[in-house]
């Protein structure tokens, strides 16, 4: 067990290192002279020798490896450099933005989990009957509707027409409802299919025939025999979906005028603010790596077969 965890941690650290290299290379390989960009920003591009001064200041003249080490050292302490666009430090309100995005993802993950289990079990309980058709229809629509359209419909339906929830800003917990729901639609749809298909597949396995031969009823078989078998699969899929929610957040945060990491990343991409793109990308990648680590550990806890391999 401990052997597995330590091995898995090492694996994650290697991935983190690779992620940092990718982020660093991305910016270094970007076209254009960064020093000129910053000099222009400060309105001093025409001053002779200023560009060289900036280059010196941000360490452009050092060898690449040194630059990487400097950058990584700063990044680890939370310093992601200076924004090319605003001239301010990138990390200024990063913790706050991470909180916003984190809350968005956490809330949506909870909603998606509950919804998908509900829909999936409905379908598995009455396979190919009306509840199953409804749940599969909802899943298909949910998985096919673009998130920005879902968001627009949510705003139009709940905020414009019925004025139930505010469509933007932070005014207490109510203002969370629409963004949470918007982000949760896609993962709920995908996960409900994971649950439904997983349960159906489990129900065709030999141990379910055994359970039937024991005289267990359908409910008991679904919950006692099939559910424990799909838990590891579900956790894996949930992990993937939580990772995907960062991408959905990029669409949803600006839609509801939220200042999260996704919104920041999008602004960075829009204005080609490399330092912001780099910082956000590193945060995203680190997040995926951590989520994957948690997923692996959770699967280890729920699947005795894997647990044995490592004990």
């Amino acid at each position: 067990m401990i052997h597995f965890i330590s091995k898995r941690l090492k694996h994650s650290l290697v991935l983190l290192f690779l992620a940092s290299v990718v982020c660093f290379t991305l910016v270094v390989s970007a076209p254009g002279n960064v020093a000129v960009l910053i000099a222009e920003l400060r309105g001093a591009a025409s001053t002779p020798g200023y560009v060289e001064k900036v280059a010196e200041e941000i360490g452009l003249n050092k060898p690449l490896l040194m630059r990487y080490v400097d950058w990584l050292g700063d990044a680890v302490t939370g310093d992601f450099g200076i924004s090319y666009r605003t001239g301010q430090t990138v990390s200024a309100d990063l913790p706050q933005r991470m909180m916003v995005t984190g809350t968005l993802i956490a809330g949506s993950a909870v909603i998606a989990t509950l919804l998908s289990l509900l829909l999936g079990f409905l379908g598995a309980f009455w396979p190919y009957k009306l509840p199953d058709r409804v749940s599969r229809g909802l899943a298909l629509i949910g998985a096919s509707t673009p998130t920005f359209f879902v968001g627009a419909l949510m705003i139009y339906g709940f905020s414009v027409t019925f004025q139930l929830f505010p469509s933007f800003g932070f005014n207490g917990p109510v203002s969370w409802v629409l963004p949470w729901l918007t982000v949760a639609v896609l993962p709920a749809a995908v996960l409900s299919r994971v649950v439904r298909v997983g349960l159906e597949e489990a129900m065709t396995s030999p141990y379910v025939l055994t359970a039937k031969s024991k005289g267990l009823g359908r409910t008991a078989i679904l919950f006692r025999e099939a559910l424990p078998n799909i838990t590891p699969v579900f956790i894996n899929a949930l992990g993937t979906q939580v990772g995907l929610m960062t991408a959905t957040g990029i669409i949803v945060e600006p839609l509801f005028a939220w200042q999260g990491v996704g919104d920041y990343f999008l602004a960075g991409v829009r204005f080609r603010d490399f330092m912001v793109v780099q910082a956000c990308l590193l945060i995203f990648l680190a997040f995926f790596i951590v989520v994957n680590l948690i997923v692996d550990l959770a699967v280890l806890m729920t699947d005795p077969r894997i647990r044995r391999q490592w004990s």
């Binding site: 629509i141 998985a143 509707t145 673009p146 920005f148 627009a152 419909l153 995907l244 669409i251």
Partner: protein
């Protein structure tokens, strides 16, 4: 004609809704310039935000452009860009996948590790990162999405390639001294392409979503070319007064994606046994009834 038969037999296995929607999308996208009743870019500010009329069946947007024509041309935009993304992604993916499946060993390990990493990052983030560095533009979008998409087809083609390579007739070819080139181009590549095409078609819905999403964010297809995601974001400021202009492109896109996703689901669920439909059951019962019953105990 006889060659088409197996193709039709195969198509018959897929849900009809999916085939109809996909067929409609492809037909609309291909013949859009001839189908669109009006010039999609012709503005008339005096006729902005109109409701449906004889002149404009689905009304006009805030610049007075005919919505129906724009929706139809947008199908073309979507089809062309999704097609380009998938073709580029599949070319890279199949190449990498077959090379990995042919060579195995460290080449396989390395390529599949890259694929794993690629698959673990949401495609939107990969695409946005590329656009953020290179700058927005049509071909940047296509290439960025292709870069985000190839690991998927890479993994599938590797799996297909491995299974082809382990078949006895390939073994026999090797023993007979067929050159690696002949095995690769004559047997491995054609077999893989066929299998991957089906998956790629099912995946086209997600690719269409990605194109629309990038356009919605203003980083994909640029105005004045009509595109569903971009039409939606254009109309978003007028959501309260004219929701139709938001809902129509959204519905068009959703319908297309539903078509592709139904196909994908049908492929994924193929291996799970289903209970018989009522009609099938009745047919089987009639068949059995004809057998009659006899008592064997004298």
């Amino acid at each position: 004609m006889n060659k088409l038969k197996p193709i039709f037999a195969r198509l018959n296995k897929f849900p009809r809704v999916a085939l109809v929607v996909i067929g409609l999308f492809v037909a609309l996208g291909t013949f859009a310039p001839w189908l669109a009743p009006q010039d999609p870019s012709a503005q008339n500010l005096l006729q902005g935000g109109l409701g449906p009329s004889v002149a404009h069946w689905l009304g006009t947007d805030h610049l007075g452009r005919d919505t129906l024509s724009r929706l139809i041309i947008a199908a073309n935009t979507s089809l062309v860009s999704v097609g380009s993304v998938l073709i580029i992604a599949m070319t890279i993916g199949i190449l990498m996948g077959t090379i990995a499946g042919y060579h195995r060993g460290w080449v396989d390990d390395l390529l599949m590790r890259v694929v794993d990493v690629g698959l673990s990052i949401p495609s939107l983030i990969t695409a946005l990162a590329v656009i953020g560095i290179v700058g927005p533009g049509y071909w940047t979008m296509v290439l960025a999405l292709a870069l985000a998409w190839w690991p998927m087809s890479g993994r599938i083609s590797r799996a297909v390639a491995v299974s082809i390579m382990s078949k006895p007739h390939i073994e026999a070819l090797r023993v007979l001294g067929a050159s690696p080139w002949r095995i690769y181009f004559g047997h491995l590549l054609p077999g893989t392409i066929g299998a991957v095409m089906v998956y790629a078609t099912a995946d086209a819905g997600t690719a269409a979503l990605a194109v629309a999403t990038l356009s919605f964010l203003g980083l994909g297809i640029q105005p004045p070319t009509p595109e569903w995601g971009q039409m939606l974001v254009d109309a978003l400021p007028y959501l309260e007064s004219d929701p139709r202009q938001v809902i129509l492109p959204g519905l068009a896109l959703t319908a297309a994606v539903i078509g592709f996703n139904t196909l994908g689901e049908a492929i994924a669920l193929n291996r799970i046994p289903k209970p018989l439909t009522r009609r099938m059951l009745a047919m089987r019962r009639i068949e059995v009834a004809g057998w009659g019953k006899e008592n064997s105990d004298a």
